[in-house]
Amino acid sequence: MERLTSYIFMTMLGAICLTAPLSATAQEFRFNSGGGPINLIVQSATAGSEPTDASDSSSEIYWDAAFGLPSKITVSTISPGQSFRLYIRLSVPSQGAGGQGIVQPEVQLQDGMLDMDLFTDIPSTLPGRQGFGTLIYRAAAAVAEGNSNEHLDDTHLVTFTILAQ
């Protein structure tokens, strides 16, 4: 019995030794839901008006900004030969007093753009450094911008980056 107790004691202590250092670096940035390819289709209009925008809010991202400094999330895109307009914003649910960052206005995604701020001032400490938000895409095409039969579809590789601010 004494031997068993000793074994359990040492095993638990060993486990603490192994796991304690790992839990200190918890940087994380991933899709909570969605994340796969999205196809936005502009397909309707009221006669006399510009086409109705298409939107998508099926993707949610999660972050743990353990950078030791306030952090931010930026966005950029690569879309060679882009013909139509694409916008994005991040919708972050309110999570109590103090908040957990500042939502930035909708960003227009243009081929070759520099990284633009999507969400800033993420706290460096818990609980504020962790959060999640919904990516809301909006595609727009005025009649003067034509259609995909003329220009082909726009294909974007949208990249989100979380980094110290």
Binding site: I16, L40, A142, V143, N147, V158, A164
Partner: protein
Amino acid sequence: MRRFMTISGLILAWIALFGPFAKAQVPPPLPGAIQMAASSLTLSQNVIVTVQQINELKIVGDVNLIISTSTPGIGLDSAVDGSSATYNLTTNDTGKKITGSIDASFSPGIRLFALLGAPVGGASSNEELSTTAIDLVTGIGYTAQTGLTITYTATAAVSAAPNGAGETRTVTLTLMDN
């Protein structure tokens, strides 16, 4: 055994707090080397934007044309209405036209003409409507306009018989490829 447990516990507690006694030799990072803790993390997503060909046409308003006067020696005066009806048009395509037709002919001697206000870049002409579609506007390109005019003109020959309360016809405008 109890002494062994105590010593082992102390050793493990030391490791937990301060790390192993003999640490591995870690060389200093080279200039510009990537650090173990990420300075940024990224996610990527593919987004495709498709814009379909969109063509929408809508007529607004009905028209009642009454031929009730004449000019002596000339004939019956035409009835003209250029304000009761308009049309709204949206197309994100080029090379389009609008044709017009009516669902049935009028009585002999009665004729109906239509002149559509052309959107920017288009061309229109005053044409007689019949059951066979005829071009009213051609050369339509990218357009999103409301309130484009439709001017109807009704004429009647003196030989046309009075038709009482009138004859109702449905005008159909069609947006199509040139």
